[in-house]
């Protein structure tokens, strides 16, 4: 039996095993195949925060849950680090029910590193159901939409919320998004209506959907998946989970591309036998 005939009969579990090894070995060995070089989209994300004057206020929307931690969490943490390093006040909201504990974790880590205090330098307003309706209502009044923070403290008693009424006082919208509701809805409901500058960090599977927003200038920067997160970590000079996973990512990609090529070559004799039909 020919090599290609054997390949066509290959048990797919060998491929799963190979992918598993290509992920585990680079993580354990900790070698670096190639340096992570930030692209223009990640630089746009980074520069949008760098341009903000210290003391300005941003809305940081953490619209994801544990299902996409591997992609969204590193970029969320890196964004919080850059914002805190620049002394920018953060108002965090989450439109995913599983999001608030992850945002708490991000602020606990970044807040301790930069000596920032909850409710003075940042606040987590928590989860609110209603998707686009919440975004739209925030345009009228953020304190009415979120009358209290995640712990139940009224926003009237939270220093970081002082003077904040709606998006008119928000210098930048940072969306860390896993899907719906997320970046697309923030663009539609907030950027278009209130003309707030916006940057986004999204899962890789949804990233192509947001390129038109980037091209049209509705987004200033875009981080796509773990690769985008790794590029951004390099820019904020705090390499973390995303950067650490990139070697495994690259090897797995090369292997999958190779298998696609091999699979098509293996299928060629069959197609020829059927007359190319």
């Amino acid at each position: 039996m020919s090599f290609f005939a054997n390949l066509r009969r290959l048990d797919r579990r060998w491929i799963f095993l190979a992918i598993g090894l290509l992920v585990v070995v680079p993580l354990l060995a900790g070698f670096h195949i190639a340096p992570v070089l930030p692209g223009s989209r990640a630089k746009g994300f980074y520069d949008a925060i760098e341009k903000l004057p210290p003391g300005s206020t941003v809305v940081l929307a953490g619209d994801y849950d544990p299902g996409t931690i591997a992609e969204n969490y590193p970029m969320h943490l890196a964004a919080a680090r850059q914002l805190m390093a620049r002394n920018i006040k953060i108002i965090a909201v989450e439109l995913y029910p599983g999001g608030p504990p992850l945002a708490d974790r991000v602020f606990r880590i970044a807040g301790a590193e930069y000596h920032k205090q909850e409710r003075i330098d940042y606040v987590n307003l928590g989860y609110k159901s209603g998707n686009e309706a919440v975004m739209s209502q925030m345009g009228s009044s953020i304190p009415v939409t979120f009358p209290a923070d995640r712990s139940g403290v009224p926003v009237t008693r939270i220093p970081v919320m002082k003077g904040i009424e709606n998006f008119g006082q928000i210098a930048l919208l940072v969306s860390i998004s896993a899907g719906y509701p997320g970046t697309k809805e923030w663009v539609q409901q907030v950027v278009s209506r209130y003309h707030v500058p916006m940057i986004a960090g999204v899962t890789a599977v949804s990233a192509p959907e947001y390129y038109p927003y980037l091209q049209a200038g509705q987004l200033q920067g875009l981080l796509g998946g773990m690769a985008g997160g790794a590029e951004y970590e390099v820019l904020v000079k705090h390499e973390g989970l995303a950067t650490r996973g990139m070697d495994a990512q690259s090897l797995a990609h090369v292997f999958i591309a190779f298998m696609i090529l091999l699979g098509n070559l293996a299928a060629l004799p069959q197609r020829s036998a059927k007359g190319g039909k």
Binding site: L27, A70, E132, A204, G225
Partner: protein, 213 residues
């Protein structure tokens, strides 16, 4: 190696391995994990929605508001209760009032959002100069974008058979679509591998303690 002493980490690790076992073949361990996931997720979201939605937005301001009681909340409470009428065949029509409100508000929000955020802004985003002096890259990029846009739009024009010049243009549109599908597939592969890396990092770092981050 520094094994975790956290029972929560052990449960999560064993459930992860149970789900991964499906890659070998379907088995009782996978079935157990799958059923646990469905049951726990349903229960978790019911409790979460009660404490993060129903209680702070409706019950507390209505029944524990004291001097600031918002009596207008009786209206959404009534509309919410009407939704449960679907369980009773004789009165299920009552739920249509609530559904009508939902159907009225959401399409309006989404249509206006789409109109402003996608339709107008995206057309505006394609009004590009086809000659940018001194910037060959930008000029070529603008041409590719506009040709791709027009040919793809023509591919979706079904009022005339795709023959002759129309067919040729539509075929160019297909090539642009294929490139975009390829890019989407590449990103999907990256997303799935990222999720695997995340789980492997959890197993090696949080559970087994053999990976130092």
């Amino acid at each position: 190696m520094h094994l975790s002493g956290d029972i929560g980490v052990w449960i999560a690790a064993l459930l992860t391995l149970g789900i991964f076992s499906f890659l070998y073949k379907d088995n009782p361990a996978y079935k157990l994990c799958e059923h646990l996931f469905v049951g726990v997720s349903a229960g978790y979201y019911v409790v979460l929605n009660y404490f993060s939605v129903v209680r702070p937005n409706l019950l507390d301001p209505l029944f524990h508001g004291g001097a600031h009681t918002d009596f207008l909340l009786v209206i959404p409470l009534g509309l919410g209760v009407l939704l449960f009428s679907r369980f009773f065949p004789k009165g299920d029509w009552l739920s249509r009032w609530s559904i009508a409100l939902i159907l009225g508000v959401y399409p309006a929000l989404r249509i206006t959002g789409f109109g402003q955020g996608d339709f107008v802004e995206q057309i505006h985003g394609t009004m590009l100069p086809l000659w940018v002096p001194g910037h060959w890259g930008t000029t070529i990029g603008n041409w590719i974008l506009i040709v791709g846009l027009l040919t793809t739009l023509i591919f979706f024009f079904f009022s005339k058979e795709h023959k002759g010049a129309l067919g040729g243009t539509a075929r160019v549109g297909v090539y642009f679509l294929m490139v975009s599908f390829g890019a989407s597939y590449g990103y999907t592969v990256m997303a799935r591998i990222s999720l695997l890396i995340g789980r492997v990092m959890f197993l090696l770092h949080d559970w087994l303690g053999v990976l130092h981050l």
